[in-house]
Amino acid sequence: MKIDVPHVAILANLKLDNKDIVKFEKQLSEILNYVEKLKEVNTEKVDATSQVTGLENILRKDETSTSLTQEEALSNTKSQKNGLLKVKAILE
């Protein structure tokens, strides 16, 4: 299995240089070739397991409680204005 690293990098929002692309192509292809061995397993009649302890529909009471203050929520951002997160324009 060969992986299209530049395409996947765009999907994953990662910027890679050419050296990285060559390196990751080799390493990721090796890993994908290894996981191919799952193809040997017949899973036609097997259900997928996504949750191992069998809990279902866990709800909490619909009650409000204290949350972070605006100041706390903004305490780690490098870019803010008027108490809001400031981001680059996404529409022209």
Partner: protein, 471 residues
């Protein structure tokens, strides 16, 4: 003997009998950190001032007659656990300067139990790794031999306990990240049942596999910490309803007539001959203690790593998508190579056209691996195996070969895939004096039994009393 060498049990006794104060105990831990951290790189942050302040507070509470299970006991936290007002980096440049505004549930519980936090420990960045070398803050070294890896990803936590820099430390185990470093450092490590300890406030790796556990010097201390950290949490919907249990009740009941299985697929191929020998010795110890040893089969074990390296990176890619550098942290260019590899692998296996062939397939194989364990636990009460097929390897040995690194987890990942608990306990040393550990696995919610079996082995062998020579 310095106070930092005590177990939690011994320290609690000493504090209660006023033989020493929590400040004395905490000072000895901080001194040990100062002496050896530059060589071992176990801590990313040392919180000396806060630690001494809470030690003073603890001493006052002891004076006032307050009794709490960890009152005045110095512990360390893997730097993946959010700590209010204290830098939490995940050992990644992305979060190099990030300061959380709240405590993880487990951190709050440990603080409420009176624990004194001495610092935040090093790890493979984002908990991605088996050796501790993927940290953006430099690799942690093995205190038994500094040329060797300490195991990962909870490298600093295991090393801090092994080298007596604290009495216990927290960890996370997604595919072996507690058990591997505990076996490589001669300490006790618990990976609890999935959902038994809250994940809230702990930086997520792979959410359906992440288990929150800890490192201690003895099995009894391990039970003490687990009694505090376990339990339902409204902030983590996967936590299990949990009745309070007395984990000390069965601790000394021994292993007579307990049926222990040896999964033959875990011991057939690829085991280092010396590991095999020590494992056989451990099996004999259990037999001599009166356990009934039988061979069992877990035929899907050989697909464990393949399933794990689809499920885990898929969930990693989703969890790490939130790090965009806008609300907090640095941008995605700050991710190291291992995080990039896993993000891309997961993005690929979840992408349109490949989802069924990879992710869905792996989730079906997950069912088969879980069924293997279910069937085995109809015949036996617990399973034992080596934690790792080899001893600790040399720093740098596997760093350029990710697949080879991934295969180090061959004996640990299936436990996470099935969501069962596993306790790693010291089980001897190689002729070069590198530690070896076995894991004791049980069905979901069987931690109680694992403590009983582990404690019986520990009392017979006493490996934990051996300490690395630090200079």
């Amino acid at each position: 003997m310095n106070l930092n060498q005590l177990t939690i049990k011994e320290a609690r006794e000493g504090l209660r009998n006023k033989q020493f104060s929590s400040v004395d105990l905490t000072r000895d831990c901080l001194t040990q950190i100062k002496k050896h951290n530059s060589a071992l790189n176990a801590f990313i942050s040392v919180t000396e001032e806060e630690a001494l302040m809470s030690a003073k507070k603890a001493d006052k509470s002891i004076e006032d007659g307050t009794s709490l299970p960890l009152l005045g006991i110095p512990i360390a936290l893997k730097d993946l656990f959010s700590t209010k007002g204290i830098k939490t980096t995940a050992a990644s440049n992305v979060l190099r300067d990030y300061i959380p505004q709240y405590d993880a549930t487990v951190v709050r519980k440990l603080k409420d139990a009176g624990a004194v936090i001495v610092g935040k420990t090093n790890l493979d960045a984002w908990a991605h790794g088996s050796s501790g070398e993927n940290s953006d803050f430099g690799p942690t070294k093995n205190p038994w031999n500094k040329n060797f890896v300490p195991g990962g990803s909870s490298s600093g936590s295991a090393v801090s306990v092994a080298s007596d820099m604290c009495l216990a430390a927290t960890g996370t185990d997604t595919g072996g990240s507690i058990r591997l470093p505990s076996s490589f450092n001669n300490v006790v490590g618990l990976k609890p049942t999935y959902g038994r300890v809250s994940r809230y406030g702990i930086i997520a790796m792979a959410s359906s596999l992440d288990s929150i556990g800890h490192f201690t010097k003895t099995v009894e201390d391990c039970a003490t910490i687990f009694n505090i950290t376990k339990g339902e949490d409204i902030y983590d919907a996967t936590t299990l309803p949990d009745a309070t249990e007395d984990f000390y009740k069965n601790l000394n009941k021994g292993v007579k007539r307990i049926r222990i299985g040896i999964p033959k697929e875990f011991v057939v191929s690829g085991l280092d001959p010396e590991v095999k020998l020590l494992f056989e010795k451990a099996v004999n110890t259990f037999a001599n203690l009166g356990a009934e040893i039988t061979e069992v089969s877990l035929p899907y074990t050989k697909y464990g790593i393949a399933a794990y390296y689809i499920i885990q990176p898929s969930e990693v890619s989703s969890n790490l998508a939130r790090y965009d550098g806008i609300r907090y942290g640095n941008g995605r260019e700050s991710f190291g190579d291992e995080a990039k590899r896993r993000i891309m692998l997961g993005t690929f296996t979840l992408s349109s056209g490949y989802y069924d062939a990879y992710y869905k397939k792996a989730m079906s194989v997950r069912t088969l691996i879980k069924n293997d364990f279910d069937k085995a636990f109809e015949k036996v009460e617990a399973l034992i195996s080596p934690v790792c097929p080899t001893y600790p390897w040399k720093l740098g040995e596997k760093i350029n070969d990710p697949l080879k690194m991934y295969l180090s987890d061959a004996l640990t990942v299936t436990v996470n895939i099935a969501g069962i608990p596993s306790l790693s306990v010291p089980a001897g040393f190689s002729k070069d004096k590198l530690p070896f550990g076995i894991q004791i696995m049980g069905k979901q919610l069987s931690e109680d039994l694992l403590f009983q079996i582990g404690n019986s082995f520990e009392k017979e062998t006493n490996y934990y009393k051996q300490k690395p020579l630090l200079r």
